[in-house]
């Protein structure tokens, strides 16, 4: 335990380097812009900027990219409150009370509350990561291939159990990801598979291209369909408003704490920030004594979803660091970055690259403090960006996506692929197929398959290896429970209603 604090202290030494602080500021600002613009989000924003970091040291690179992630999380709140347009899916719940507050002239208050609760949620999650991640990593060191596969199984099964989309659609989306991950050269046998003679498919599908297409292009098409009309509220935050709001916030400590816990839980299991924010809002509405007034501009209705969304978004990095299983699409992109920089994510990271890990964790603390200060002071600037009409923004974002897709592998074919993924993203989104499992499956496909094959090799092809010891059985059991949860809850509901015919 004490070692960790020593490591963290060293980490602060790395993160507080002036160059790294500068990267934090740039990252947060870029992140907020990305979060504010429709069509650019955390996942594809980071994916587009990933190639720029190839020449940096891994620690600086991850600081820049993770700060973009924090910035995007902050940025989503601005559009929700001022324009009633959620810049990110997890800020949908913030519009419910945030925008009514802005309409009644309390935009400054709503934004201060949103940013501050974001900060609180993130901070809570970082403390949890600091305390728990090393333990999880140490525990995971004894994992063999079967346990590894079981962890992947649990991660994907919880998607099926927790997402609000129909389970069969979640499974299809996930399996498409796994299938795409298989395309190309098979690392074990050296055979080409699923390429059907197309030389362009030799290297398989790069998940960064998929992310840029699915989330970037798909989002632009969706925005276009809805026909964006910006009717924004002006925002000015002066220190007096901030101070006044901060004085009222401690009253909601119960809501904050509850939202933090919901967020952390949903972030670690890859349910993600979006359901966390809705759940937290829903519970706050039911429990709070002002619950009836939720939806009309209640400050507590901003605190609850924002805290949970940030806690979830931040804690999604815990399984990525400790187990190599990202909890969100953006964490998946960061994990892809680790691989590109030559780092192997997973428990060994804490042993072999402890400087990198603790530098990152320290930068999370600093990055969020810097982020809070930055967003509170620069809101008017970002509100102005939002007033740029969509007919200018849209082609520019298209160009940015195309450049981003090209720079991943310096390959023009990828730009075409991006467009295909874009149309696919639009279609899947409109028919309620979740995109996050698809992306996660493309990223984790190779490692999941490797773990699966290795396990079967050791057992000579028998699937009983996944139930061979208490540890792996427990994880698999939890996975089965999570995956079959929709069925279980259906049965429970039936049992509860049948005995008492009303």
């Amino acid at each position: 335990m004490f070692d960790n604090f020593l490591n963290l202290y060293h980490g602060f030494g790395i993160a507080a380097d002036p160059f790294n602080i500068l990267l934090m500021v740039i990252g947060i600002l870029l992140g907020v812009i990305i979060g504010v613009l429709p069509g650019l989000g955390g996942a594809n924003g980071v994916a587009i900027l990933l190639p720029l970091t190839f020449s940096m040291s891994p620690t600086s690179a991850i600081i820049l990219l993770s700060c973009i992630y924090w910035g995007a999380l902050f940025g989503g709140a601005i559009t929700s409150v001022l324009f009633n347009i959620p810049g990110e899916p997890w800020s949908v719940a913030t519009t419910f009370d945030g925008h009514p507050m802005a309409r009644s002239g309390r935009a400054g208050e709503a934004l201060t509350a949103a940013f501050t609760s974001s900060f609180v949620g993130a901070f809570f999650a970082i403390i949890m990561i600091t305390l728990i991640a090393p333990l999880v990593a140490q525990f995971a060191l004894q994992f063999g291939p079967a346990e590894k596969f079981a962890v992947y199984f649990l991660a994907f099964a919880s998607f099926v159990g927790m997402s609000k989309e129909p389970p069969a659609k979640t499974v299809v989306s996930m399996m498409i990801g796994f299938a795409l991950a298989c395309v190309g050269l098979d690392m074990v046998t050296g055979q080409l598979r699923l390429t059907f003679g197309f030389t362009e498919l030799l290297n398989g599908f790069d998940f960064l291209i998929a992310v840029i297409g699915l989330f970037g292009i798909g989002e632009i098409l969706l925005t276009m369909e809805e026909g964006l009309e910006f009717r924004g509220k002006a925002a000015k935050i002066d220190p007096k408003v901030v101070w006044k709001t901060w004085k009222t916030l401690p009253r909601f400590w119960v809501t904050s704490l509850r939202s933090c816990i919901i967020g952390c839980w949903m972030g670690i299991t890859p349910a993600g920030a979006t359901p966390a924010s809705f759940m937290s809002y829903g519970i706050a509405k039911r429990v709070s004594k002002n619950g009836k007034n939720f939806g009309n501009g209640e400050i507590e209705g901003v605190v609850a979803p924002e805290t949970a969304a940030h806690a979830a978004g931040t804690s999604a990095l815990l399984p990525m660091l400790a187990l190599g299983v990202p909890g969100s699409p953006t964490a998946a992109v960061l994990l892809g970055g680790l691989l590109i920089w030559g780092l192997q994510p997973g428990p060994m990271l804490f042993v072999e690259q402890s400087e990198f890990v603790w530098g990152l964790i320290a930068s999370m603390y600093l990055g969020n403090v810097v982020g809070l200060a930055l967003v509170l002071t620069t809101v008017p600037l970002f509100a102005a960006i939002l007033r740029i009409p969509f007919s200018i923004i849209a082609p520019v974002i298209l160009v940015i996506c195309a450049i981003g897709a090209y720079t991943v592998n310096n390959n023009v074919f990828d730009v075409l692929m991006m467009m295909v993924f874009g149309v696919l993203g639009y279609l899947l989104k409109k028919t309620n197929y979740p995109l996050a499992p698809l992306v996660l499956a493309i990223v984790l496909g190779p490692s999941a398959e490797e773990a699966f094959r290795q396990s079967l090799l050791t057992s000579g092809g028998s699937v009983t290896i996944f139930w061979s010891n208490p540890l792996v059985s427990t994880i698999m059991g939890l996975g089965l429970l999570a995956g079959l949860w929709p069925l279980v809850s259906l049965l429970l509901a039936k049992l509860r209603t049948t005995p008492q015919p009303a």
Binding site: M175, T189, A394, P395, V399, Y406, T407, K430
Partner: protein
């Protein structure tokens, strides 16, 4: 599709039809994956063969696509996927973007980008020529300076750039 003669703005393809189509599409994809896996061998040869894992992935896709097909069939046959006017909006972005992407391999990224932004602003945004030209040239020049000069990341170039000696 068959309701095209209805008044503009009101009609549109049905959500149910699109759901059915998507499920059929994923079903087809599942079969392709299974077929591709069988081609490289999906069995056991001293260990799992190359197609072993994707084969079962393909089977699951087929199974769940059938489930989706059934639930799509039961869906409300009236609900709209989107109105034709909305789809028109989408096509107004989609068609220029596709042309843009198709031009990139031949012309590099700069010339198509200038064209895309210009056409978009003049046609959809109804902006004046001078402003549109300024943005259309400004954005690619910005990326040229930041990416190629500062970060030394080369972007695809075509005959026009070669002519300019860039």
């Amino acid at each position: 599709m068959e309701q095209a003669h209805q008044g503009a703005g009101g009609g549109g393809p049905k959500q149910r039809a699109v759901e059915l189509g998507t499920a059929l599409l994923t079903l087809l994809f599942g079969f392709i994956v299974v077929y591709g896996s069988l081609r490289v061998g999906a069995g056991w040869d001293g260990g799992p063969q190359a197609g072993f894992f994707p084969f079962y992935v393909g089977l699951i896709i087929i199974g769940c696509s059938v489930l989706n097909l059934v639930s799509a069939y039961r869906e409300d046959p009236v609900a709209l996927f989107a109105e034709y006017s909305q789809l028109g909006q989408v096509l107004k972005v989609l068609v220029p973007s596709c042309i843009y992407v198709a031009l990139v391999p031949a012309l590099g990224i700069y010339v198509p980008s200038i064209l895309l932004i210009f056409v978009f602003m003049v046609w959809l945004g109804k902006y004046g020529i001078p402003l549109s030209l300024a943005v259309a040239f400004g954005v690619p020049i910005f990326f040229y300076i930041t990416l190629e000069r500062w970060f030394l990341i080369p972007l695809p170039k075509g005959p026009v750039e070669a002519l300019l000696g860039l």
